[in-house]
Structure formats: structure tokens, C-alpha cells
């Protein structure tokens, strides 16, 4: 009796230490993740001189909105914003239509050949033609330098297809389908009237996954677009955030160069916030949906 008590006290003491260390470690992790983000937000509202003096870290100093004002003056940013919004809306719509069209038949046991199709589709996750054959295909199809080169190649994601298929399989009761059949309802009507309305939560999650993918897409635009006025936001961001950084060092007038450097620095912070704002604003509200979607996929994967 005494003995077991001793063990309990000893182990709970050890566990308490564990808990404190655990909270400490996770707090450090939290700081590591938060500080860079917080700094960018603060720097985007601060006088660049204060940033250079190291006075901006946890809160802004010398509050200014000049960075934001300058970001919105640049027509390239507007154009990029507009383009990526169009690509995201059109692309996500295509993604959802195609994913439903693929996942619903695959979720049905009486869809003969489904498992063969599934193998064909899954194989593409592990082996692909690669960059050049895909590039030549886009050219051959006449899609090069058009919106379709951006939105069609990623029309269905294998992972998302599996998520949707799994959801349809496990959350639409088979009895519903049989009852609908007896009432003379065909597959398409059943899909439109019953399956889709019952699957809105998962479709919203997939829409978000696809939407984020389109918003952040850089590679397809790099490979498949040549007209500046078709560039999405990420390409514009690269030009401003990265390409200036390396090539913009040589400037003639020293005083104005210093000013320019400072302003370009401020502009970078603001631009990072402006470009990530749509995601940062919706993310806290949608976080649990993202996680849910990820988990449904993991059940099967």
C-alpha cells in the first residue's frame, strides 16, 4: 500500500515536471512561429528608419501607411491581384466539378472498372512525365500563354479525389440510393439532389485546398505564361520581393538611393501582408475545416 502510494507520488511529480517542460518547449515553438509574422505586420506599419534602428519588433514604431499606399499605386500589383483572383475562381470551379465527377462514380461499388481506374490515377502520384513533356503538351494543345494553361493541368488532384471518394463512400448511406432508385431517380439526379447537398462541408474544404493552391501557384505561371499582363500575383511578388533584391543595388544618386532603399524595404513588408491577407483573414475561421479535410484523406492514405 505504502509502496504504490510512493510510486504514484513519484510518477506524478515526474509528470508535473514533464508538463512544465512541455509547455515551455511549445511556448518556444509558438514564439518561433509567431515572431517573424508579427515582425512583418509591425514593420509594414512602421517608419523604415525605426526598423533599421532595430526599434520595431513586438509593436510598430513611427506609424505610417505609406507602404500600403505605395503598394496600391503600382498597377502591376493590381493586375496580378486581378489575374490570380480570376485564375483562383475559374480554377477552383473546374477543380470541384471534375473532382465530384471523378469521385462519385469511384465511390460506388457497382461502378465496374473503378478499381482499375483508381490504380491508373494513383500511379500518377508516383511517376510523371516531368517538366519538359508537360510543357510540350501545353504548347501542342495551344494552351501556352493562356489562362487554360494555369487552370487545366491541375484540374483534379489525386489526394483530393481520394478525400471526396472516401467521404461519399462512408457518409452517404446506401439505403438512400436504393430508395431513390425505386422512386425512379437516376444516378445524376441522385448526385445533384442528394449527394452534393449532403457533402457541402467536404466540398467546401476541397474548394479551400484547391483555392489556396491556385492563389499560391507560381510554377505553372513561370512555365506557361509569357505575357506580363497575364502574370498572377506570385510572379509579380517574385519580381518585387526577390529580383529587386539582387539587381537593384547600383543606383546613381546616393541620397535618393538611400530613400529608395528604405521605401522599397517598407513596400516589401506591406506587399507580403497584402498578398497573404486573403488567406490570413480567412484562415482562423476555416482552420478546423482544413484539418478535417486533411484527416479524411489520411484515413485512406
Amino acid at each position: 500500500m505504502n509502496n504504490t502510494n510512493a510510486i504514484r507520488i513519484k510518477s506524478s511529480f515526474g509528470d508535473r515536471i514533464f508538463d512544465y517542460v512541455n509547455i515551455l518547449l511549445l511556448s518556444i515553438l509558438l514564439l518561433i512561429v509567431v515572431l517573424p509574422l508579427l515582425f512583418i505586420v509591425n514593420a509594414s506599419f512602421s517608419d523604415p528608419d525605426e526598423v533599421l534602428r532595430g526599434n520595431v519588433l513586438l509593436y510598430p514604431a513611427g506609424f505610417t501607411l505609406e507602404g500600403y499606399a505605395r503598394v496600391f499605386v503600382d498597377p502591376k500589383v493590381w493586375q496580378g491581384y486581378w489575374n490570380v483572383a480570376v485564375y483562383t475562381v475559374v480554377g477552383t470551379a473546374i477543380n470541384l466539378l471534375m473532382t465530384i465527377a471523378g469521385a462519385y462514380p469511384l465511390s460506388r461499388k457497382d461502378f465496374r472498372g473503378g478499381s482499375l481506374f483508381m490504380v491508373l490515377i494513383t500511379f500518377t502520384m508516383f511517376f510523371s512525365g516531368g517538366m519538359i513533356p508537360s510543357f510540350l503538351l501545353v504548347k501542342d494543345l495551344g494552351l501556352y500563354n493562356s489562362m487554360w494553361a494555369i487552370v487545366l493541368p491541375p484540374a483534379v488532384g489525386v489526394w483530393n479525389l481520394i478525400i471526396a471518394k472516401t467521404y461519399f463512400q462512408y457518409s452517404i448511406p446506401n439505403e438512400l440510393k436504393e430508395a431513390a432508385h425505386i422512386d425512379g431517380c437516376n444516378n445524376i439526379v441522385f448526385l445533384l439532389k442528394i449527394v452534393i447537398p449532403l457533402s457541402l462541408p467536404i466540398l467546401a474544404v476541397l474548394g479551400l485546398f484547391y483555392g489556396v493552391g491556385h492563389w499560391n501557384n507560381f510554377m505553372r505561371a513561370l512555365l506557361y505564361l509569357s505575357d506580363e499582363n497575364k502574370y498572377p500575383l506570385q510572379i509579380v511578388l517574385r519580381q518585387i520581393l526577390l529580383q529587386n533584391q539582387i539587381s537593384g543595388a547600383s543606383l546613381d544618386d546616393i541620397t535618393s538611393a538611400v530613400e529608395r532603399q528604405k521605401l522599397s524595404q517598407l513596400l516589401r513588408y506591406s506587399l507580403i501582408i497584402v498578398s497573404s491577407a486573403p488567406l490570413l483573414i480567412v484562415y482562423p475561421f476555416l482552420q478546423r475545416f482544413f484539418v478535417k479535410g486533411m484527416l479524411i484523406g489520411a484515413v485512406k492514405g
Partner: protein, 309 residues
Amino acid sequence: MGVPSVLKLSSMRSDIRKNYDLYILFAPVLLYYIIFHYVPMYGLQIAFKNFIPSQGITGSPWIGWDHFERFFNLFNFRDLLKNTLGLSAYNIAVSFPIPVIVAFLINELGGNKFKKIVQTVTYAPHFISVVVLVGMLYTFLSPSTGIVNIVADRLGLEAINYMANPALFKTLYVLSEVWQHTGWASIIYLAALAGIDPQLHESAVMDGANKLRRIWHINLPGIAPTIIIMLILTVGRIMEVGFEKVLLMQNPLNQQTAEIISTYVYKIGILNAQYSFATAIDLFNNVINFTLLLTVNWIAKKYSEISLW
């Protein structure tokens, strides 16, 4: 051919007839996979051809293994291979175990508010685009205006041009990867941990096992299958190590360590239009990758009976 198989055949026919509309619905998806995924695989043959755009993929003349030989004899072949494998191995060694550990830690928090905050905050960077992430790296690490060097200057340290230093390229790549994806990658392990039978923990507590021992003896074996599957998937992508991020992190000063096979393919193929040569390099990359996937999967299957298929 017994009666059952005849029955089976006729039920298959009736299924197909009954569900013809499902096949119509599925057709565009099948077509998509054939056009956008299998046609490029057919296009891989230009790796063995001298591709002439006017004659097309099929019409161009075969030349055998010439492009591969040229690649293996390239002056920077060793560097490319070393950089690709080195970056990938470094990345897996660091950014694979951390999410597992973080999941164990978060799991021990119980259902309190702090747990929610940790999760919400650490998942967020996953949604930042690669361009913005690399932009952040350049902005923070700039030798003159970056916050890291400003703070270092205050502490009396020399300014360092991190992004231009070839020796630091891999570390910057890996650490930023950890910063961005650790939280998100831990989700899957947290889900696996939630599936562990609580009775195992209860009886271990009765036996006097503390939290660390229970993590080691119950949680770790409990989620081992998930860890192994994720490891197979990660190793199977070893040669695909972030093309976009590496390309964006490259500058004239860090080429020596920052040039990997996929960025080289981009430069040779897309920028220089040497389609056949670039395809051969990419195919070499893909084949190594796929072979590694099969090997790791085979090893896992042999020793733990866990496999992707």
C-alpha cells in the same frame, strides 16, 4: 465456366448498363488523366530522341542513350547529384522527425486553450506561398536592412550576408521548411495518437509508468505505422525536393550548392530549349526517385508488414 461465373458476367453487364450515366460523368476525368498525365509519360521518349519540334515527338529520330551519356559526363554532374541528394537527405533528417516530436508534445497538453492556440498558430505558415516565404528570408537576412543583422549589429556582431553564402544554403532551406510545415505535418500524427486506446494508458498508469515512458512504450509503437507510411512517401519524393523554393533561393553567389537537378532541368529545357537533353536529365531523376520509393516500400513491407499497396 460454371453457373456462378455466368451470373457474375451478366450482373457486370447489367451494372454497366444500369450505370451508363456514371461512365459518362467519369469520362472527362479519365480523359484528363490520360491527356495531362499519361501523354507526358509517352512524351518521355524524347529523352532517347533528337527532338525536332517540326517533326513532333513521334516523328523525331531515335538516338539511343546519347543524352544520358552527355549528362553523366557533364562537368557539374557530380555537383548536381551531390546537391540534390544532400539537400534532400538533410531535409528529411531534420524536418521529418520534428513534427512527430511536436505531435507527442501537443498530444500531452489535453484539451485546453493553450493547445488550441499552439495548433492554430503553428498550422498558419503552411498557407504562405513559397515566393513570400523566400521573400521573407531575403528580407530578414539582408546584410544591410535585415532584422537579423540589425539585431546582430546591436549585439556588436559582424553583419553576415546569409543568402549569398553557399555554405548556408542547405541549412536555410531546411530551417525555413521546418518553420513553415512542422505544425501542419504534425496533424496526421496527432490524429493517429487520438486513435490509441486510452485503456492502454490507464493500465500503464496503474503500473506506475510516467508520461515519458508511456510516450515511448505506448504512443510511439501506436503511431509507428503512420510514421512508416509517411517516411515511405517522403523518401519516395527525395529527388523532387522543392524545385520552386530552390529556384527562388538561388542567386549568382550560391549556385555552387544551390543548383539541383530539377532547377538545372528548368534552365536547360525551358530557358535554353534543349528539350531532349533536359527530358533525359529529368527522367534520370524520376527513375531514381521511383526506384527509391519501391525499395523503401519493399524494406518496410519486409520488416514491418506495412506498405503503400
